[in-house]
């Protein structure tokens, strides 16, 4: 299957619907590399995707560039193709599975960061089966020397609260990709506020394309983080 791109997406052009531009901005991840990776991702060619990522890592690509300009951009594009009925849900799952697999190639570098003694618990909500965004957030915490505990998809609120009590993290990060789960998010935030007052929480994810980013006005310790770059800025405040 060859996906022919007919337009370039731009944040400004589509009223913030897409938070990305399909234009790799780094010199290392060229358009050619990106397109090659995306086509192989859509074909389900894990070996070729692995080869591309390994090659970039061997050339000492920045982990941020890899995450933002290759993994995130391609997943957003895959999501767009799925939402516009140009690829099936099976292809979308295959692409996600391959991305999860190639993410692990970067772990030796991500987990090698000098630890700063801070902790974050990152989780998806109940009924959230798209976990890769949350996992990438946990990895960004690790890259900044934090312990990024990732609880995975479809995490029941009781389990989340137990782990937060146990780990006592500086930050709880909640990832949400499906807007219809907004009620669950409020439920979790209310539980956190009443049972663990003072706990700093950040929320983010693709669900907020549809609204809800004003969530931080409703809770005293909740902050909406719109992108990995914003997360990075926020983490710098802790240094």
């Amino acid at each position: 299957m060859e996906i022919v791109r007919t337009m370039e997406f731009d944040t400004d052009l589509v009223q913030g619907y897409y938070l990305f531009k399909i234009r790799p901005v780094t010199t290392m991840i060229t358009s050619e590399i990106y397109n090659n990776y995306l086509q192989n991702l859509l074909k389900g060619n894990r070996q070729e995707c692995t080869k591309i990522v390994k090659d970039l890592l061997d050339r000492d690509v920045s982990i941020y560039d890899l995450y933002l300009d290759l993994f995130q951009t391609s997943l957003y594009e895959v999501g767009y193709l799925w939402e516009t009925n140009r690829i099936s849900v099976a292809t979308e799952h295959m692409a996600t599975t391959i991305t999860e697999s190639v993410l692990s190639l970067a772990y030796p570098r991500i987990f090698a960061a000098q630890h700063v003694g801070r902790k974050a618990v990152v989780s998806c909500l109940v009924n959230e089966y798209h976990q890769i965004g949350g996992k990438m957030v946990a990895d960004i915490f690790e890259l900044n020397g934090w312990d990024g505990y990732f609880l995975g998809a479809n995490t029941p609120v009781e389990d989340l609260l137990d782990i937060v009590r146990d780990k006592q993290p500086e930050i709880v990060a909640l990832s949400m990709s499906v807007y219809f789960n907004m009620d669950y998010l409020h439920n979790v935030l209310q539980r956190l506020e009443s049972e663990l007052p003072g706990q700093q929480v950040i929320v983010g994810g693709q669900a907020f394309r549809w609204g809800g980013s004003d969530i931080q006005d409703k809770y005293s310790r909740v902050q909406y983080i719109s992108s990995i770059k914003e997360l990075e800025k926020m983490l710098q405040q802790y240094e």
């Binding site: 599975t97 999860e100 692990s104 995975g152």
Partner: protein
């Protein structure tokens, strides 16, 4: 073509295009016709085959005639798809106009549930992999820290211990006549203990260096027999104290071997000193060098107490001692064989042991005649 959505035309369209298996069979169960979905699923050659070739009837108890008597009953069968991955269908069989009709339906709820479970399993697997890699890197860091500490401690302890050993040796040689027997015993104890501690420290430094990936091998084309002879000669002096003989036997011609002579000397010294340590007084130790294909093999055999089967697995782990006791209570650091093992692996060689309790032990190592070392 846009179908005529009425009556027979609609039925025909659905029969051809819906995700459902539709086949007609003869009385023997041979497939006569199949719809497009079945062709796509099973393969173009589906017609003419027996139903029993297309489905998997694990129980072997399916009987077509019985199934026709109970049209409402569903039969769960896996269908051999041409992709090689079987798919499960719920079948009904009915007879119409002298033909047998087989209808296989997917259970969409079941398929959806399966897909959901697969996604969940994949997520869990990938998260476990993340945790595993994280722990692995943490362990690597801890191991590096341990090696650094070991190296530092061993290095800093070496000088003062060397002074204790040398000065006790000096006193034993120079002041023996002016000391009481009791003081001489104390000095001998200081000398023996400091000697043991120095050899332990040397081995700790070796292990720390090797584990830190700093096993540097200087490969030279070497006359292995000469090398082994010189190590045997040195160890004969130690062996004589226990009236032990060391006999070297070797093939007449052994080619030069690419190896690091210092390190292989260390291997031989470790194996021989172990053999001496574990041999009862008055025994014989044999060293045998022979060629086996592209490898040269060295065997060191003693008549010691032997090593129990359960201890053999842990022989090469650092700081591990076996349950075997030396006949005269000689001390062992538990590091020698770990170092030997790493050095031989660094030469892309192999090391193994054959042992029988109460009969003795033979340690073998083999080295490629032409080295292709990873060091």
């Amino acid at each position: 073509m846009i179908p005529d959505f009425s009556g027979q035309a609609l039925n025909n369209y659905l029969a051809e295009h819906a995700a459902i298996i539709l086949m007609t069979l003869d009385v023997d169960g041979r497939i006569q016709q199949a719809n497009r979905f079945t062709h796509n699923l099973v393969g173009k050659d589906v017609t003419g085959r027996l139903l029993s070739e297309v489905i998997v009837d694990f129980t072997g108890s399916f009987d077509l005639q019985n199934a026709l008597q109970q049209e409402d009953e569903q039969h769960l069968f896996n269908v051999n798809s041409h992709s090689g991955l079987p798919q499960t269908f719920y079948f009904r069989f009915m007879e119409q106009n002298g033909k047998i009709l087989a209808v296989g339906e997917l259970n969409h709820l079941e398929t959806e549930e399966l897909r959901r479970n697969l996604v969940q399993l994949n997520n869990e697997f990938s998260n476990l992999n993340r945790e595993l890699q994280k722990k692995n890197i943490e362990l690597t860091k801890l191991n590096e820290l341990k090696n650094h500490f070991l190296g530092m401690a061993a290095h800093d302890l070496r000088n003062p211990l060397g002074a204790i050993r040398n000065l006790s040796e000096f006193l034993l040689e120079e002041a023996r006549d002016s000391l009481s027997d009791e003081y001489i015993q104390f000095l001998e104890l200081i000398h023996t203990s400091s000697n043991f501690m120095l050899s332990l420290l040397d081995q700790l430094l070796d292990i720390a260096r090797i584990e830190a990936g700093k096993l540097e091998l200087d490969f030279q084309s070497t006359d292995l027999i000469s090398l082994i002879k010189s190590v045997v000669d040195i160890n004969k002096i130690l062996a004589e104290k226990k009236k032990i003989q060391i006999r070297l036997e070797h093939f007449e011609t052994i080619p030069y071997v690419e190896l690091d002579s210092m390190k292989i000397e260390q291997v031989m010294h470790n194996l021989l000193s172990n053999a001496i340590k574990f041999s009862p007084e008055g025994n014989l130790i044999k060293v045998h060098v022979f060629l086996s294909g592209e490898h040269v093999t060295v065997a060191v055999t003693d008549k010691g107490p032997g090593i129990p089967e359960e201890d053999i697995q842990k022989l090469y782990q650092p700081f591990t001692k076996t349950s075997v006791k030396t006949p005269e209570g000689e001390k062992s650091t538990g590091l020698g064989l770990a170092i030997v093992h790493k050095i031989i692996l660094g030469h892309m060689g192999k090391i193994w042991v054959e042992s029988k309790v109460d009969q003795g032990t033979t340690f073998f190592f083999s080295l490629p005649v032409k080295a292709e070392s990873k060091a």
